[in-house]
C-alpha cells in the first residue's frame, strides 16, 4: 500500500491555507447570515501567516511540521475558529509524532483525533450545526474507502478524495435544515434554519479543492 509523505502533507496544508485565503469573503458572508461575519476574516488572517511563512516551519517529521502549523493557527486566528482549528491540528499532529510517512489508517486516526479535539474544545457534537456535521461524515467516508482497499496516496487516493468531497458537500448542504446549537448562530434559535453552517461549508470547499488538485500536486516519489 502506498503511503503519504511530508510532501503530501505539505500539499494538503498549503491547499487548506490557500482555499481559506481565496474564500475569505464567501466564508465571511456565510457567517454573517446568522453569525457575526468574521469567520472568513479570522481564518484568512491565520492561514496567510501559514502561507507567507511557509518555508520557516520545522519539517523534521510530519508530526513536528503539523504541530508548528497548529501553533501558528492557534496564535493567529481569533474568534471561535482559532481554538477549534488550532486544537484540531494539534491533536492530529500528536497522533503522528516523529513519523515521516503516513498510512491510510494514520490519516483516519488523525481525523478522528481532530474531531475529538473539536468536540471537547467546543462542548459540541454532531447535530449542533457546526463544521463537525461535515467533518464527521467526510471522515467516515474516507475510512470506508480506505477500508475498501484504496491506498492513502497515489492515483487511487484521488478516488478517496473525490468520494470524500461529494460526501462533504452533501453534508454541508444538509446543515441548512438544522438548527444551530453552538456558536453565535445558536442565539438565533429557529432563525438559524434555512442557511448552511459556515464552518461545514468551509470543510466541503476545502475537501473539494483537495480532490480537484490532488492529481496536480508535486508527485511523491514512488
Amino acid at each position: 500500500m502506498t503511503t503519504a509523505r511530508l510532501a503530501d502533507v505539505e500539499f494538503v496544508v498549503r491547499s487548506i491555507a490557500r482555499t481559506c485565503l481565496a474564500n475569505e469573503k464567501e466564508f465571511g458572508e456565510l457567517d454573517a447570515v446568522v453569525g457575526d461575519g468574521d469567520f472568513g476574516y479570522s481564518l484568512a488572517r491565520g492561514f496567510e501567516i501559514v502561507d507567507s511563512g511557509w518555508d520557516s516551519f520545522d519539517r523534521t517529521d510530519i508530526g513536528t511540521f503539523l504541530q508548528k502549523i497548529a501553533v501558528t493557527i492557534t496564535s493567529r486566528i481569533g474568534g471561535t475558529s482559532g481554538p477549534i482549528w488550532g486544537t484540531a491540528f494539534l491533536r492530529a499532529a500528536a497522533q503522528v509524532k516523529g513519523q515521516t510517512t503516513l498510512s491510510g489508517d494514520d490519516v483516519v486516526r488523525m481525523l478522528r483525533a481532530a474531531i475529538e479535539g473539536i468536540k471537547q474544545r467546543g462542548a459540541s457534537d454532531v447535530g449542533d450545526k457546526t463544521l463537525l456535521d461535515a467533518l464527521v461524515p467526510t471522515t467516515d467516508a474516507i475510512e470506508a474507502a480506505i477500508a475498501a482497499g484504496a491506498p492513502a496516496a497515489g492515483a487511487p487516493a484521488a478516488d478517496v478524495l473525490a468520494r470524500a468531497a461529494a460526501v462533504a458537500r452533501e453534508a454541508a448542504d444538509a446543515t441548512t435544515t438544522m438548527q444551530a446549537r453552538r456558536g453565535r448562530a445558536a442565539y438565533t434559535g429557529e432563525r438559524s434554519i434555512g442557511s448552511p453552517d459556515a464552518g461545514a461549508v468551509a470543510v466541503a470547499v476545502i475537501t473539494e479543492r483537495l480532490a480537484a488538485e490532488w492529481a496536480t500536486r508535486a508527485p511523491a516519489p514512488a
Partner: protein, 331 residues
C-alpha cells in the same frame, strides 16, 4: 460602506495606534498582541485586571484601561475573540505577585481563548483567575448556547473589581466582588439599524425601514424577535421590562441605571431615553442611585441602545463611586 478606514485589516491596529498616541503618559501599546496596558502595570501591590473580547465595542475594552479599571486589554479583530496567544502574552506581561484576573464576556470563542491561555499561564506558575460576565437577558433559552452573553453590564464588573484591586483586594476577594456584581446586573439592547464591519464592507444583517431587532447582541446577533419601530417610550419599555422582570428588580430597590449607545445613536437620544427610564423606574418604586448615559459597549456604527440595571448595596455603590481614570475622556 461610509467609514473612516484605510486597509480594513489595519483597522484595529490603526485604532490602537491612535489610542496610544492620544495617551502617551498613561498607556503602553504592544502591537504584536493588540495590547493596550497601563504604563505603571504590573504593580507588586495589586492584582492585574485584564479583559479581551473582540474589537468594535469601543470604549470596551481598550479605552477602559487605566487607574481604577483595567490594567490591560488585548482585543481580537472586529467582533473576533482574541487569539489565545494575545491573552497568554498579556497575562505574562501583567503578571503581578498578587495575580491576574481575566474578565471574559461569555461567548464561545472568548471562553476558549481565555481558558486555553490561562491553562498555559498557570502551567508556568502564574496565579490566574477567570471571571465570566453574562448580563444579557435577551437570550432566554440557553440550552443550546454557552448561556447568556456578556454585554454593556461588563462595565460595572470592571469598575467594581478595578476599584477593589486598587484598594489591595486579593484574587479570591476580586472574584467574589466580580461575581456578586455580575449576579445583580442585567442588560437588554435594541437595534434600530445593523452595523457594518470594515472587513465585510456591508451591513451585517438587514432591517426594514420600520423594523427593529429587540434583544440584539453586540455582534449583531439576533435577539428575541423583530419588532416594529415605535415611540421612544414604547421602544424603551420593550427592553426595560425584560430587564426589570429578570432579576427581578422590585419596589424599594436602589439601582445603577445605564443607557448605553450602540455606536450610531447620538447622546441627545440617549439622554431622552435615560429620562424616560428613570421615570418608569420611579413609577415602580425603584430608585436610581447612580446614572450612566453614553457609549460604554458599542457595536461599531449600529444605531440603538441598551438598558442596564445593577442592584446596589453599600459595597457595590462604594466601589462604583471610587475614582477612576481611563483612556476615553473629555478633557
Amino acid at each position: 460602506m461610509k467609514k473612516f478606514v484605510n486597509e480594513p485589516k489595519q483597522f484595529v491596529p490603526e485604532m490602537l495606534q491612535g489610542i496610544a498616541l492620544a495617551n502617551p503618559d498613561t498607556l503602553t501599546y504592544v502591537p504584536e498582541f493588540n495590547l493596550i496596558m497601563r504604563k505603571d502595570a504590573p504593580r507588586e501591590d495589586k492584582v492585574s485586571i485584564v479583559q479581551g473580547s473582540g474589537s468594535g465595542h469601543e470604549p470596551a475594552h481598550v479605552l477602559t484601561v487605566g487607574r481604577g479599571m483595567l490594567d490591560g486589554a488585548c482585543p481580537g479583530d472586529v467582533f473576533s475573540a482574541p487569539p489565545m496567544d494575545y491573552v497568554y502574552e498579556t497575562a505574562k506581561r501583567l503578571a503581578s505577585p498578587k495575580g491576574v484576573l481575566l474578565l471574559v464576556n461569555n461567548y464561545t470563542g472568548d471562553r476558549m481563548a481565555f481558558e486555553m491561555a490561562s491553562e498555559l499561564a498557570e502551567a508556568e506558575g502564574l496565579a490566574v483567575r477567570t471571571l465570566f460576565i453574562d448580563d444579557d437577558v435577551s437570550v432566554q433559552d440557553s440550552t443550546y448556547t454557552v448561556g447568556r452573553r456578556g454585554v454593556a453590564g461588563n462595565f460595572f464588573v470592571m469598575k467594581a473589581v478595578g476599584a477593589a484591586a486598587e484598594e489591595g483586594a486579593d484574587l479570591d476577594e476580586l472574584v467574589r466582588v466580580g461575581e456578586k456584581v455580575n449576579s445583580v446586573t442585567r442588560t437588554m439592547g435594541l437595534a434600530l439599524t445593523p452595523c457594518t464591519p470594515p472587513a465585510k464592507g456591508s451591513p451585517l444583517f438587514e432591517l426594514g425601514e420600520d423594523e427593529i431587532e429587540i434583544g440584539v447582541g453586540i455582534h449583531g446577533e439576533p435577539g428575541r424577535r423583530r419588532g416594529k419601530l415605535a415611540s421612544a417610550d414604547e421602544l424603551l419599555a420593550e427592553i426595560l421590562e425584560p430587564v426589570v422582570a429578570d432579576l427581578p428588580f422590585s419596589s424599594g430597590d436602589r439601582v445603577a441605571l445605564m443607557i448605553n449607545g450602540l455606536g450610531g445613536t447620538p447622546i441627545s437620544e440617549l439622554y431622552l431615553l435615560y429620562g424616560r427610564a428613570h421615570q418608569q423606574l420611579a413609577d415602580r418604586g425603584i430608585t436610581v442611585g447612580r446614572s450612566y448615559v453614553g457609549e460604554y459597549c458599542t457595536s461599531l456604527d449600529m444605531a440603538g441602545a441598551s438598558v442596564t440595571l445593577v442592584r446596589l448595596d453599600d459595597e457595590i455603590e462604594r466601589l462604583l463611586a471610587a475614582p477612576a481614570e481611563i483612556g476615553v475622556r473629555i478633557f
